[in-house]
């Protein structure tokens, strides 16, 4: 059964049609054309599909497309302010916090959520805040440092 869904994605009104059992991740990737969220596992274990749903970070592989009806979704594609990168995006680049980059959209979305809740997190709070996202390349070292540095800059701004 196909369902028509009306949402706001990255501030824009977006309508799409999806199957009743189709995940929000598949709808975003295959119906809306936003492929920044990745499927690493399909079971909510890796966080590569992280998006913000009404301000709450979720694994979009565990949300149905139909559940997005009337709600606001923020994805990695909407993170920068036009050509101006979000401080997290910039700090990830400066610190070399990505190698292959497949987990990066999910980490940036999760890190943004962490800093929204707590602008001045400890190292441990960052590590636990990002524990729902898997990275296999970096050992997380440079990711944590990039988030710390971005937090510092954002607090100063």
């Amino acid at each position: 059964m196909s369902i028509q869904v009306s949402t706001t994605i990255n501030g824009d009104r977006v309508d799409f049609i999806c199957e009743a059992d189709e995940s929000l991740l598949d709808a975003l990737r295959n119906r809306v054309g936003l492929t920044g969220a990745k499927e690493g596992c399909g079971t909510g274990d890796c966080g590569a599909c992280s998006v913000s749903l009404d301000g709450r970070i979720v694994c979009s592989c565990l949300v149905l497309g139909a559940e997005a009806e009337g709600r606001g979704i923020d994805t990695i594609e909407g993170m920068s302010d036009g050509a101006i990168l979000h401080p997290l995006q910039r700090k990830f680049l400066e610190h070399g916090a990505l190698q292959c980059g497949i987990c990066t959209p999910g980490f940036l979305m999760a890190a943004q959520a962490v800093l929204k809740k707590n602008p001045n997190p400890s190292e441990e709070e960052i590590r636990f805040g990002l524990a729902g996202n898997l990275c296999r390349c970096t050992g997380y070292d440079k990711i944590v440092r990039a988030v710390q540095d971005a937090a510092l800059e954002m607090r100063g701004a």
């Binding site: 199957e19 990737r29 936003l34 492929t35 920044g36 969220a37 990745k38 499927e39 690493g40 596992c41 399909g42 079971t43 274990d45 890796c46 590569a48 994805t75 990695i76 594609e77 993170m79 920068s80 990168l85 995006q89 990830f92 680049l93 400066e94 610190h95 070399g96 990505l98 190698q99 292959c100 980059g101 497949i102 987990c103 990066t104 959209p105 940036l108 441990e124 960052i126 590590r127 636990f128 990002l130 524990a131 729902g132 996202n133 898997l134 990275c135 296999r136 390349c137 970096t138 050992g139 997380y140 070292d141 440079k142 990711i143 944590v144 440092r145």
Partner: protein, 754 residues
Amino acid sequence: MPLDTAFTGQKFASVGTRPIRPDGIDKVTGRARYGADTTAPGQLVGLILRSPHAHARIKKIDISKAEKLPGVKAVLTSADLPDLTEGDKSMFDVLENCMARTTVFYEGHAVAAVAAIDAKTAKQALKLIKVDYEILPHVTDVDEAMSPKAPVLHPKMFTIGMEPRPKKASNIAKRTEYGHGDVEAGFAEADHIIKESFKTEQTHQGYIEPHACLATIGPDGQGELWVCTQGHFVYRNTCAQLLGMDVAKLKVTASEIGGGFGGKTHVWAEPVALALSRKANRPVKIVMSREEVFRASGPTSSTSIDVKIGVKNDGTITAAQAELRYQGGPYLGMWAELGAMTSFACYDLKNVKSVGYEVLVNRPKVAAYRAPSAPMAAFAVESVIDDLARKIGMDPIAFRIKNAAKQGTKSSYGPVYGPIGIGPTLEAAQNHPHMKAPLGKNQGRGMACGFWFNFGGQTCTDINIGIDGTVSLTVGTIDVGGSRAALSLVAAEELGVPYSQIKCNIADTGSLGHNDMTDGSRGTFSSSMATVFAARNAIKVLRDRAAQMMEIPVDDVVWEDGHAKAKGDSHGNLAPLSLKDIAAAAGNTGGPIAGHNEIVADGAGVSFATHICDVEVDPETGSTKVLRYTVIQDAGKAVHPTYVEGQYQGGAAQGIGWALNEEYIYGKDGRLQNAGFLDYRMPVCSDLPFIDTVILEIPNPNHPYGVRGVGETSIVPPLGAIGNAVSNAIGIRMNHAPMSPPRILKAIEGAKKH
């Protein structure tokens, strides 16, 4: 003219700096396109039917119902993939692994595939395929598979490398031996001998991006493949051979790659996607699920290893011996052989012998995993080295320094070493503040060494100068972790222009000559060598053009700081010409300006590392926390130090996961019980501390800039380092990895009883 690959000791302007990578913006904005991120008009969804049995004969496959389902455009079995391998056994193994023929050898082995208009239809079609199996006895454990009572996977498998060659078939596919001297004489000289046995469980590379490809073949025999791979040229050659295509008519484009670590050096679903496309005459996209990645791509070997080392009271090792049994899944690999070659490579040994046995079991076909086979051998050897040091009352670092290989040492696997970094990494460890930091209750410190060969191989690179003087650098090695940035730095260095003036692209297979894959830590090593020579060739052309523009002999033109300059007193008043000036005039001086290089990049310098780690073991739960971790490794020359550090940290983290948690768990039914990230638990952010790195630079004499590969060695020491730290914390030698909480708890409780 032979190219001079010798290290010159030049000073660097660009190399060694840390600019932003050229693919960075795409990767932080979601724009970068990975294997699953593209589509083609009219594309179909491909899905693969996999065996639920560990070992079974395929009696019959009935695809008639699936073919009749509306929306199904092709159903495939091995009948659609005839054997074109012409006696090439290893290529036949690849074919059979992609699609089982008469027998399934592991749970997850592909038996059929469908292409349909959407995923829902494809899933329905899979359910309509009826496979009639005759279930056969199976074996998944490496030691059990070697037993004479074990079910034999291949009835014609008579061990290679045994004299005389056995007449009875077995699962021991091959025996290899490395070493020199007389180990028995060496053990006779020893004051102490320690012999221990070890096991390591099977682990997966765990790249976050599942395998994905989009394949198209038309009736004219031409095809295209978009795929996440570590080696698109190699994928092209393999797929073309398996499908009977002309190599030049299959264009393979490498997507951005979401991690590989060796697992994307082998083809899995790609030939199937191409064959489905050929049958349906439509583009076919196959994206593996995570479960399929675990069950049906290529994890690393599980192993069983015996190590025996003899030592004199003064700390001199008199003899070292190892027997290494590695399972390769159902097919012959060189996994035990690599273990045998690497096992004692860190040490200067008079008498050494390593014997490897390649063992076949009913598990997925093993693939390379970062310094393949070396971590397990190092786990065993470094554990025994620590125990010997304790036995003779010597500091473990001092003991290793005393016996470390050095320039001129005949390595345990044959070659004589040039300048190497094992001694310097050990000395750096000895002097590192980490070694002096205090430890608390239930805490232990361990250290271990590691070695990897590093590969070179076939490589080619193009440099094309744009009309505005900007530089296109075109390479054929996949960028797995920042190599485009590193190679751009090398081009900038050689041409004498800013990094920002270079754009590095990865060519598709139609745009550049063959390149071997990004494996063996060869990406930056070999492509940087080819880039240096391509740039030097471009400079030759640039000097020639500048000479025309200046109307002076080319021998009077030198290339300095990105400019052609007239040398000598007679041309003193001629202004230097920039790359931009020369490029702008190219149309009148001979046409486009380019430099090319094709090379077999020999001389990849070997790589060594020493790791130190502190752990705390909870005696109640057996759970281990890594408190502090330090990686010291020789990079030869760190081209982009940030990404060199990243390699050190990433390898260490993978090794930590392997040491403490990760393992394939098989049931008695031969089925994998933890094919998902929830139950196959890789380290998450809160599991790890910051991973400190120390980059040593002992130049590789065979590379113009001294570069060595840096990607793999960092995964070699962690099992041993953590094993030693845990053993120091609990006072019991742990000889089975991963050292998961149940194993540690069992060891602690076992020790209480004695």
